[in-house]
């Protein structure tokens, strides 16, 4: 297997995917994992993707949301609060 990419690189890629499709698509953890596995090929695996999601959440760049199912999104003020 080729040398793995760094966890920050994977979390950055995930962040870009979420940011670029904000308002059009909601990402589940599994969708993000599949997307980065496709993007990085054999330089990324599921364990690395899992660590990247954790990094993304614990850094505060993204949050978990619940709208029927659980999604990962960029923090925003939700309409329900208004």
């Amino acid at each position: 297997m080729a040398e793995q990419v760094k966890v920050e690189e994977v979390s950055d890629a995930m962040y870009r995917l979420i940011k670029d499709s904000m308002g059009q698509k909601k990402w589940k953890a599994t969708d993000l994992t599949k997307a980065v596995l496709e993007l990085f090929g054999d330089r990324c695996d599921k364990t690395l993707a899992k660590s990247a999601i954790r990094e993304l959440i614990e850094s505060g760049k993204c949050i978990y949301t619940y709208f029927g199912g659980s999604f990962i999104e960029i923090p925003h003020r939700e309409g329900a609060q208004n």
Partner: protein
């Protein structure tokens, strides 16, 4: 309390009668807490209009966690400002729901400081449910709970807080240590419990015997139910005592056996254990005389759910018998395989039972590497769509002729 008490003529009806009333408890909380007072007002409004006024879900939670907090907002915030935010917090209960009264007081004190003071002990998930707080109070509540040694439970598309019956702590029929397994699964799946990564929720429920006191067969994606594979233990002297004390063994025990595996000649009770389906009826009827066998373990069933997106399902057998003892490697290997296949191929909001229905039991078993066995047939005359390919020679393909004696 300075605020005027809400008028609740419709809710007042629910205080009448001999049974406990949630209205009475909310009114009691409303004496001290304005959130509880506005909750009464909004609930009365819902009863008048026959419509709910809660908005559910959203982005609220504590840092790092994706589960444990269920966002809830009023759609009438001007009229009921104290419940404009009314989030629910799920707290991971101790296995078997054992507490000291001291810890219960401390939990209630935390909730009176940070929320409505209203609790639900326990929710259908098994967790302690703290009802009603504002977004700003979530982190301080979480902080105090962790200081007391408690963690949040699961919510959303994650492993929900595992729950179990009291097992060997109080029940002689427990066929495995439900509390030990529940604690183990809770700790082993911490990441999956707090960080939703599945197509939808996943529930483990552990029952120590086929009485299934936590109703796992109806509610859990994976039901782990204690059972035995040797003979029911019989104390003949105690059977005689039951007969002498007036129990009609023929009518009330033998006559109610679903597999008709028992005989009673007025003196001796005989059981054809091979035909026994472990329904527990005879053991429940004569607890001093009968007991589960000594070779005990569990049956693992899969796929139950309550109706949400689609209809209700009962779980069906996946592993007829397993010895459940630490370090539980066999169980973990199985669960991890199921999670991998379901996560990879499940649709959004598709429970594992629905997933199995969609792809077929045969394909599911092949994907997780489990051999089909007759116990997996969930209903009489059900076609499980399992084909034993090794029974066919290449030349027979297409003819459908089954080779015998193989």
């Amino acid at each position: 309390m300075a605020e005027e008490k809400r008028k609740t003529p419709k809710l007042d009806e629910l205080e009448k009668g001999a049974w406990p009333s949630f209205v009475k408890e909310i009114k009691s909380a409303a004496e001290k807490n304005p959130m509880a007072n506005d909750l009464l007002g909004q609930l009365e409004r819902s009863y008048e209009e026959k419509i709910g006024h809660w908005k559910h879900g959203g982005i609220v939670g504590v840092l790092g966690y994706g589960g444990g907090v269920i966002g809830r907002y009023s759609d009438l915030p001007e009229e009921f400002p104290n419940v404009s935010h009314f989030h629910t917090i799920r707290i991971n209960q101790p296995a078997g729901w054992f507490y000291t009264s001291d810890v219960l007081r401390k939990l209630c004190d935390i909730w009176e400081r940070h929320g409505s003071g209203l609790t639900n002990m326990h929710g259908s998930t098994g967790d302690m449910i703290f009802l009603g707080t504002k977004t700003d109070e979530l982190e301080p509540t979480f902080s105090e709970l962790t200081e007391l040694g408690f963690d949040l439970g699961g919510s959303g598309s994650d492993v929900r807080t595992p729950s179990c019956c009291c097992g060997k702590a109080r029940c002689e029929w427990a066929c495995y240590d439900t509390m030990a397994l529940t604690y183990f699964l809770t700790m082993h799946y911490q990441d999956e419990l707090h960080r939703p990564a599945f197509p939808y929720k996943w529930k483990f429920k552990m029952s120590g015997c086929p009485n299934d006191c936590v109703a796992s067969v109806a509610r859990a994606d994976m039901s782990i139910i204690g059972t035995w594979r040797d003979d029911i233990q019989i104390d003949k002297k105690a059977v005689t005592e039951y007969a002498e004390s007036g129990l009609n063994i023929q009518r009330d025990v033998v006559g109610n056996c679903p597999s008709k595996c028992m005989e009673w000649d007025g003196k001796e009770l005989k059981i054809d254990n091979k035909a026994c389906v472990k329904c527990m009826h005879c053991i429940n009827a004569m607890p001093k005389a009968l007991a589960p066998g000594k070779d005990r373990g569990a049956c693992i069933l899969i796929g139950a759910k309550a109706p949400i997106v689609e209809g209700a399902l009962l779980s069906s057998v996946l592993v007829p018998f397993i010895k459940l003892e630490p370090p539980y490697n066999e169980l973990i290997d199985l669960v991890d395989k199921i999670h991998e296949v379901w996560s990879e191929n499940g649709k959004n909001r598709e429970r594992v039972g629905e997933f199995i229905q969609r792809v077929g039991m045969g394909n599911f078993l092949e994907a997780i590497g489990v051999e089909p066995v007759p116990e997996m047939v969930a209903h009489p005359r059900e076609n499980p769509y399992v084909f034993y390919e090794e029974y066919f020679e290449e030349d027979d393909e297409g003819s459908g002729e089954q080779e015998e004696d193989k």
